[in-house]
Every structure is written in C-alpha cells, then in structure tokens.
Symmetry: D5
Subunit: 96 residues, 10 copies
Amino acid sequence: MLFQVEMTVKLPHDLHSEQAAEIKAREKAYSQQLQRDGIWRHLWRVAGSYSNVSIFDVQDNAALQDIVSALPLFPYMDITVKPLCRHPSSIHDDDR
Amino acid sequence: MLFQVEMTVKLPHDLHSEQAAEIKAREKAYSQQLQRDGIWRHLWRVAGSYSNVSIFDVQDNAALQDIVSALPLFPYMDITVKPLCRHPSSIHDDDR
Amino acid sequence: MLFQVEMTVKLPHDLHSEQAAEIKAREKAYSQQLQRDGIWRHLWRVAGSYSNVSIFDVQDNAALQDIVSALPLFPYMDITVKPLCRHPSSIHDDDR
Amino acid sequence: MLFQVEMTVKLPHDLHSEQAAEIKAREKAYSQQLQRDGIWRHLWRVAGSYSNVSIFDVQDNAALQDIVSALPLFPYMDITVKPLCRHPSSIHDDDR
Amino acid sequence: MLFQVEMTVKLPHDLHSEQAAEIKAREKAYSQQLQRDGIWRHLWRVAGSYSNVSIFDVQDNAALQDIVSALPLFPYMDITVKPLCRHPSSIHDDDR
Amino acid sequence: MLFQVEMTVKLPHDLHSEQAAEIKAREKAYSQQLQRDGIWRHLWRVAGSYSNVSIFDVQDNAALQDIVSALPLFPYMDITVKPLCRHPSSIHDDDR
Amino acid sequence: MLFQVEMTVKLPHDLHSEQAAEIKAREKAYSQQLQRDGIWRHLWRVAGSYSNVSIFDVQDNAALQDIVSALPLFPYMDITVKPLCRHPSSIHDDDR
Amino acid sequence: MLFQVEMTVKLPHDLHSEQAAEIKAREKAYSQQLQRDGIWRHLWRVAGSYSNVSIFDVQDNAALQDIVSALPLFPYMDITVKPLCRHPSSIHDDDR
Amino acid sequence: MLFQVEMTVKLPHDLHSEQAAEIKAREKAYSQQLQRDGIWRHLWRVAGSYSNVSIFDVQDNAALQDIVSALPLFPYMDITVKPLCRHPSSIHDDDR
Amino acid sequence: MLFQVEMTVKLPHDLHSEQAAEIKAREKAYSQQLQRDGIWRHLWRVAGSYSNVSIFDVQDNAALQDIVSALPLFPYMDITVKPLCRHPSSIHDDDR
C-alpha cells in the first residue's frame, strides 16, 4: 500500500554541528536500508529546498507510523502524508 | 527531468454531464498516451479525493507547460508543480 | 484499517431542491448500509455546521477511495482524510 | 457529550530529554486513567505524525477544559476542538 | 452552556431580492424569538461587515446544532463555533 | 463602545516559572479590576485551549489600546480585535 | 475616531454591465459626499489592483457600520477594518 | 522603476468561447505593444499553470495602475504586485 | 509617491530589556525625524496590537527600501508594503 | 532553463553579529560570481523587506538544487521556486 510523504527539514540553528551531522548520517543509513528493503520506493529532492518527495510501500497505516516516527530527523521535520491507490487512468496494474 | 504534479479536479456542478464525460474520456486517452510514451511516469489517485499525484519526465520546463496545459481537464483543475532531482540519500542513480 | 474522514457539504444554492433531496436520500441510505456493514464505524455531526467527523474501517487505501468516491454527495463536499493507527498510550488493543 | 480533540505535540528541541521523558510518562498515565474512566473514549495516532485524534465524552464545556488543560503536554501542543452530536444518518442512538 | 458563534452572511448575488428579503425576515423573527427565550444571549454586528458575533446558551452540543442549522440563513453563512466556559479570572460565577 | 477581543497565551517554554507565575498573578488582578470597573464586560475561556473570548466596553479606540497594551501578558499573546455595534435584529437597545 | 478600511471589489462576471455602471456611479457619488463631509478622510487606490486603502473618521463603531454597509458596492466587496488611534511616536496630536 | 507582477488567469467556465478568444487576442496585442515600448520588460509563463511572472518598468505607482487595470483580462485575474529596487549584491547598476 | 506600510513588532522575549529600550528610543527618534521631513506622512497605532499603519511619501521604490531597512526595529518586525496612487473617486488631487 | 526564486532572509536574533557578517559576505561573493557566470540572471530587492526576487538560468533541476543549497544563507531563508518558460505572448524568442 502506497503513501506519498513530503518532508521538510527544519534544523534549529543552534543545534551543534556535530550532533546535526550525526543525525543526518543515521538518517541516510536508515533511509538507504528502507530503500533496499523496497519500502521507501522513491526518494526525490525538491529542487531549491531542503525538502523531499517520497513514496512509501507499507503493509498498513501502523507500519507507516512505525517507519516514519523512527526517522532520526523526525523531530526536526514538517511531514505531510497522502494515502495513494491505483488511478483509474493508470496503464499499470501495480504502479510502484 | 522530473516534476511532481498534483492535480485536483473541480468540475462546475452545472457542466452538462455529456460534456463532462467527453472531457474525461479525452483526458484518459491523453494521459494513457503520455504514460505509454514514458512521459507521465507515475499516476496515483489520492485516496478519498478527486486528486492525483503524478510524476512527469520531460525535457525541460517548456515541455512540462506544453503537456500540462494541453490536458483536457486543465481549465477545471487546481495544479501544483514541484521540480525534482536526485536526492543525495537515494540508492538509485536515476530514480524514475 | 482506520481513517478519519471529515466532510463539509457545500450544495450550490441553485441546485433544484428535489434534486438535492434525492441526493441526500441516497446519501443517507448508502451511509446507513456502510454503517451496518461495519465499514463506517462512527458518524458524528460537528455541532453548528453542515460537516461530519467519520471513522472508516477499510481493507486498504483503494477500498477507502472506492467507498468515499461513491458517496452521492461526493461532488459537493470538501473532504479531508487522515490515516489512523493504534496510539501507544491507548488501553485498547483494537480501538474501533 | 462528545468532542473531537486533535493534538499535535511540538516539543522544543532544547527541552532536556529527562524532562521530556518525565512529561510523556505522566501524560501516558493520565490519558490511560481517563480512558479507563470512559472519558477519553477513543485515542488514535495519525500515521506519519506526532499527532492524535481523540474523542472525549464529558459533562459539559467546563469539564472538557479541566481535562484538556491538565494534560502534562498541554503547554507543548497545538490543539483543536470540535463539539460533536448525533448525526441524523447515524444508525446508532448513542454512538460513542 | 455557552458557545460563541460567528456568522458571516454570503448571499449569492443572483438570489432574487424578494427571496432574500423573505429569508432575512424569517431570520430576524427566529433570532428574536431565541433572544426572548434566553438562548441567543448576545447578538452584535461586527462593524464594517455583514458578520455577527453571538453568544448562545444551550443545553448541549445537540441543542446548538438544532438551533443553528434551523437558521433561515444557514445555507448562506460561514459559521465558526467555540465552546466557552468560566474563565478562572472571571469575577462572575455565571457570566452570561 | 464594544469590542470583541480574543487572546491566546503563548508563554515561551524557557520563561522561568516564578516569572510566569508573577505575570499571571498581575494579569489576574488587572483583569479583575477592569471587570469591576465595568470595562471588561465579559471574559470566557475557550474550552480546550489557553485562549479567551472577551468583550470590552471602552470610550474609544485609544482607550482600548491603553487597556490592552497594559495587560501583563500582552507581550506573550496573539490578539485579535473586532469592533462591535448594535445588530439590527437585537431585541436589546444596549446589549452589553 | 479613525478606522483603516481596505476594500477589494469582486464584481460577478455575469453582472449586467449597465447595472455595474449604475452601482459604480452611485458608489462614486456616495464616496465623494463622505469625503466632502470629512468622514472619508483618505482614499487611495492600491496600484495594480481593484482595491483601495481608506481612512474613515467616525463617531463610533455604529457610525462606521452605517456608513460602510450603505456603500452601493458593499455586497460585492471583501472588506477588512482596523481601529486606529494615536501612535506614541507620532509628532501630530491629531493625525487625520 | 520596476515591479514584479504575477498574474493568474481564472476564466469563468461559462464565458462564451468567442468572447474569451476576443479578450485573449486583445490581451496579447496589448501586452506586445507594452513589451515593444519597453514597459513590460519580461514576461514568462510559470510552467504547468495559467500564470505568468512579469517585470514592469514604469514611471511611478500611478503608471503601474493605469497599465495593469487596462489589461483586457484584468477582471479575470488574481494579481500580486511587488515593488522592486536595486539589490546591494547586484553586479548591475541598472538591472532591467 | 505613496506607500502604505504596516508593521508588527515581534520582540524576542529574551532580548535584554535595556537593549530593547535602546532600540525603541532610536526607532522613535528616527521615525520622528522622518515625520518632520514629510516622508513618514501618517503613523497610526492599530488599537489592541503592537502594530502600526503608516503612509510613506518617497521618491521611488529604492528610497522606500533605504528608509524602511534602516528602521532600528527592522529585524524585529513583520512588514507589508502596498504601493498607492490616486483613486479615481478621490476629491483630492494630491491626497497625502 | 529559467527559474524564479524568491528568498526571504530570517536571521535568528541571537546569531553572533560577526558570524552573520561573515555569512553575508560569503553570500555576496557567491551571488556575484554566479551573476558573472550568467547563472543568476537577475537579482532585485523587494522594497521594504529583507527579500529578493531572482531569475536563475540553469541546465536542469539538479543544477538549481546544487546552486541554491550552496547559498551561505540557505539555512536562514524561506525560499520559493517557480519553473519558467517562454510565454506565448512574449515578443522575445529567448527572454532572459
């Protein structure tokens, strides 16, 4: 089941730079593992911003919550979620 | 080059139903041709709405404008556009 | 799987009153069937408005879309959707 | 009398982690007591967020204020309240 | 139990003037009856607008819904509702 | 002359608790004096919030500014003001 | 007593042009009479818009309401009102 | 003197197509004359929309108003205006 | 050339009180000099707020920027600017 | 390929003034190099603000992201991006 998730990172300016670097390193490793697992299907940068557009493929709402709330940057992001499903005009039976 | 495009259809309630059906049929055919051409890469319905989330793969901004403004439903939609590019944490060289 | 759905009805003032009555009658019958089926778990009026707060229990996002887009009042409503899941502080294993 | 209450937690990033943990522990205990008392009827997490959707069953507006303003996380949350009542299409005489 | 209700009238410009006059006359009679009944406690015009600020004194949420949704101008108004209760700094035990 | 004033308190989380308590005590004393003087006509808590709805009865705009800007919590509140006057449907000649 | 009033004209596109011209002529005459009376102190066009910024000098809120609601274009305008008073840094005792 | 002007065209769906075509033809001729006169310095389409971003070079605010309010599409557009001036980091003395 | 400028002061709560007082004193002196020079034509307090409505009379956009960005409170204010010009219904040739 | 980029600088008030000066100096040097390279085509100050309107000429979305995210002030700015293309009414084949 697919969800579009948009995340905008808003790091407090007085966060220590080493702490920020450490959080971002964990975020990257975590996101890459989820990509390899086929859960984080797509991950794009929105050009000119510190935001991304992502497509998640999860079992249900609870799985989405588990994954998103475990993001190391979760406390520092504005996040919007949209549940997706097949569009009647799609030519793909299972567009992921 | 990728763009995320979100479209929300707002048909006037006094549009004749045949006219609406004819516009929607043309929209479907047009969108399916663009999907077959590899331009309209992804097309998802946002669950519980008359909206979609789409990913377009076009040569440049002008191509995006040509394609989107030719949508039969173009006069009846709220549309937002976000330019996308590779995310530094993506494991894909060319995620489309 | 649960979703919170909020709907605000905005009937065009020049809709014929018989047509409006007919749509509302079908909406009522449809919603009551879904309630009897255990899909439309809760349905409350927001006091002082023409809005409702609803909880849907569906199999997945696609089922939500099928059900909501088939509402007779669908073309005349502003609708927002929020995917729900178990809250870690809930005392219920399966709060529906 | 029912109210829908939506809460979004916004903890300041420079709150000491022990203080945050202590507040959250008190919040959990308090919310579970209210659930056992039948006052906090439903408590759901909004998937992909640090928000919840809740249904409160209280005697009147004053009781709602007493309960909500006593939440340990009250100073750190954005809260919206909607008064609810029976919907004319509900099949339940007393949907709680 | 008190509620603050704010109403902004938005009459469609193509409503027949006799029909508008008839609706407004019924609205006036209805509101004055509710004022005499002690339900519509206060009714003020917001200066420079077609809006009012009102205080309703009702038994519960359901009573508020019955009264507000029966307003002849109900289909033509934007309405916001806020549940009120005693303020801890009020010098009145029962400020109505 | 009446004004509706809505105030939402937003205390910075790192304000010392004694300082906050001292400001709130002065606010309470000040507001109660204004209520006894017949200036702060009504003061209600909005249920489920740290907001109030108030009705002020002052000589003119300048008096409103003097009174509101002298509130001890003034630097910590979001405030909206609406000038009020008699509503043509009011049954009271001088509703205060 | 001064108020800043901002008005944006939104004429329905299907208003008959003669009717629109007649309303605008009455609006102009009415506004010029109020200017000559010293009530409508300032009237400026916001460049690049169909909006104006105005300063009214009236006895009280009720007078403002009487004057603004009698504008021939009143049903076709978005209007915002701000009560004004002397600024402590003004060098004028009575800036109008 | 430069202004950035953003215009979004919102043609009513029930405008006769010949009338719309005639308005657009006049708009095009008018805008091209202003471009040749060096007044409408830049005119870009926002990709994926019925909007443009424009830079006007006019003598003063009044000239801007005269030019913009005379646009044949003026009654059918949402317009925002921003006054521009030299940026201290610009390498151009007179960037137009 | 006239501009309406609206300013809302938002002083950080942890600004030292002497520093705040010093900035405000400079702001007052600066604004009074500009008033004496005929540049800051009008300066009004918005009643019940820490905002003002001002009318500036400057040579061009660049002069406005020079003057506004030199305000001692500039870093602590939300500012909106509207270019003004003569209104066709104004009875004054040069309303300042 | 052109993009309009609007940037509003929001420096935290407790940033050390030397650090702010150093960031701004780097921002200026960086922006002037990009202007000399023909990438940052236009750079205007919005009068009365700490914002700019800019036109970038880049190869693609990825280049825009590289350039914008490398701005020394990037962490301290609100940024909006609009992809631009030739307007059908433009008299210029290649308006940059």
